[in-house]
């Protein structure tokens, strides 16, 4: 019901909101230190109060996608939960909290323990984010639970997962993990710029924003690369190649924290460079960065990309059922937000699938919010679906961690 909090606990951001809200608040999941502010740290979105966002040092509760440091996580969660705890004591709230597709028992048990014993929630449902995205898809398309089948692609901060869901449950053995996420993309962009133009290795925050503002997924990366290479050699370009180059080349004006707190993209030649401005010249980096999701080997990572991973998941499913899954490829996670992502995924999948398979890449709004929205749909569902997933505080006290692993393990 409405007394449910949905906390999508991610390595990059916490997406939090109550079931009565229509969208989640995104809170950076970090206790951040600023170079010039020695008297305090910034917990979560307190970072908005920091005047100078250069040289930030992040302390993340997550490591390689798993929640390991509760010292830090408690600080961020306390900060996120405060507005809700003020409205009503936490003991009167139920909570849906997310975990990765594949979790470790110590991590899961620690999460349950903190939620029940430190925060004292009335009931807890610990569910994989991809599972919630599948729930969202089923309800958005109005498919009956018994008929539902989908593939979920969850691209987050630490990694990306492909997984198959059937009738509201994870298909065992269908999960595939690609170790490329927002973090790797930002680091790649930082290195590229630092090699070629300006030392920005310390400026994770700024370059992360640059990635979000300037990067997009190319519908044909090889063509973009060929066009830019020819332009660099001063060879003549046909009109298509010229268009590609024009689309790619731009300036990114860096923030100065006096007038601008965030950088922005500017078309070449549209404005003369102001005196105090620092700008970056961007070109192939704009598409080469998100390209890593599709081709990790571009950065020397010996793994297949997200499209291949989805096909790998699919190949493990019963052949006569595979078309059911390809009809719903659900996008979730912040790293799916790049412009052109859905289009490119569709092109790659279409090329790999038999002609007679239906293909439907489904994006039900902001990919970063899909898991949260799925949790909200679950909480508000009139058939009381949340009941079968939640464990009450009383049951936790009586039966302990074993009950949680049993109840929540239905999905892993």
């Amino acid at each position: 019901g409405k007394d449910t909090l949905i906390v999508d606990l991610g390595a990059g951001y916490v997406k939090i909101g109550s079931a009565s809200e229509s969208e989640p608040r995104q809170v950076i999941n970090s206790v951040t230190k600023a170079k010039h502010v020695k008297t305090r740290v910034f917990v979560g979105n307190e970072l908005d109060e920091c005047k100078d966002l250069s040289g930030l040092y992040y302390q993340l509760p997550f490591q390689k996608g798993y929640l390991l440091n509760w010292e830090l996580q408690k600080q961020v969660l306390d900060h996120c939960l405060k507005p809700y705890a003020d409205k009503r004591p936490l003991s009167e709230w139920q909570v849906i909290v997310t975990e990765p597709c594949i979790n470790f028992s110590p991590v899961a048990e620690a999460l349950d323990e903190v939620l029940f014993e430190e925060y004292g929630f009335k009931a807890v449902a610990r569910l994989p984010a991809a599972f919630l995205a599948a729930q969202r898809d089923q309800r958005q398309r109005g498919v009956l639970p018994a008929d539902h089948a989908c593939l979920v692609l969850d691209c987050g901060y630490s990694f990306s997962h492909a997984a198959a869901y059937r009738r509201g449950r994870l298909v065992p053995g269908s999960v595939r993990r690609v170790n490329v996420g927002g973090k790797v993309l930002t680091n790649y962009l930082k290195e590229a710029i630092s090699y070629r133009q300006l030392m920005v290795m310390d400026e994770t925050h700024v370059m992360n924003q640059c990635k979000e503002d300037a990067c997009f997924v190319s519908e044909n990366f090889d063509a973009d690369l060929a066009a830019m290479s020819r332009a660099a050699q001063r060879s003549p370009l046909d009109s298509e190649a010229q268009e590609r180059c024009q689309k790619l080349c731009c300036e990114y004006v860096l923030p100065d924290y006096a007038q601008h707190r965030r950088g922005f993209v500017r078309q070449l030649g549209s404005q003369k460079q102001q005196q105090q401005e620092q700008t970056l010249r961007l070109g192939i980096e704009r598409v080469a960065t998100p390209e890593l999701l599709f081709r990790p080997s571009d950065a020397g990572i010996p793994e297949m990309g997200v499209a291949e991973a989805l096909c790998d998941t699919l190949s493990g499913l019963p052949p006569h059922e595979q078309p059911l899954y390809t009809d719903a490829v659900v996008l979730a996670g912040g790293s799916c937000r790049f412009a052109g992502f859905a289009n490119r995924l569709e092109t790659e999948l279409r090329a790999s699938l038999p002609d007679d398979f239906p293909l439907g890449v489904r994006c039900h709004g902001d990919p970063a919010a899909q898991a949260w929205l799925g949790g909200r749909d679950l909480a508000l569902s009139p058939d009381g679906a949340l009941e079968c997933y939640a464990v009450s505080r009383k049951d936790y006290r009586d039966h302990g961690a074993a009950l949680c692993s049993e109840r929540f393990a239905q999905f892993t």
């Binding site: 206790v31 230190k33 170079k35 020695k38 740290v41 040289g55 040092y57 992040y58 302390q59 993340l60 490591q63 390689k64 798993y66 390991l68 440091n69 509760w70 010292e71 597709c101 594949i102 470790f104 028992s105 110590p106 991590v107 048990e109 620690a110 323990e113 903190v114 053995g173 999960v175 595939r176 993990r177 690609v178 170790n179 973090k183 790797v184 680091n187 290195e191 590229a192 070629r196 310390d202 690369l225 060929a226 830019m228 290479s229 660099a232 192939i284 980096e285 080469a288 081709r295 990790p296 080997s297 571009d298 020397g300 990572i301 010996p302 793994e303 297949m304 291949e308 790998d312 892993t412």
Partner: protein
Amino acid sequence: LQPAMVDAGVSSRLRETRRLVLDEAARQRRHRRALEALEADNFQADPHADLRVSKLAPKFSDEASSFGPSRDSLGGVAASADGKKSRKAKAAGGSGAVGTLGGRLRRNFAALLEEELARRAQLPGAAASGSTATPYELAQVGPSRLPPRHFCAVCGLLGPHTCVVCGTRFCSASCYSTHQDTRCLKWTG
């Protein structure tokens, strides 16, 4: 670096200059370090690592608990910078117990995975089934079926040519001379 003397069938002038060529092992090491750098949460060391709180400053709460461990989460590239342990770092070490819920949670991911492997190996059916792979390992995707692309380290465009000394890719003579002048064997990835 393992210097290899490249002198067979080479002119005496070139033999004078000791030419360093990175062998395969060194190249693999550089590659691995580059991959670790891609996984780092912070590039620089903790800016507050050597903060010393004046004894006269009022203590409102347990200050140790407001700072997490001063190493960056992976203890990778950046951490090598901090050699000295400040008072804060020592205090933070104490608060590590709180962060790991009384030591029940491992402090780093490698330990978590190791523990999971050990746990699996001890399960009754483990020896019989022969497979002790965890779901985490099984989910790991394999290499791509597509051949890898190579990019010029200097300009980021197609890099069909390889530097003989360090194995870095470049696209043209001008990018190669930039590479030789500034970056060959100097960029620590």
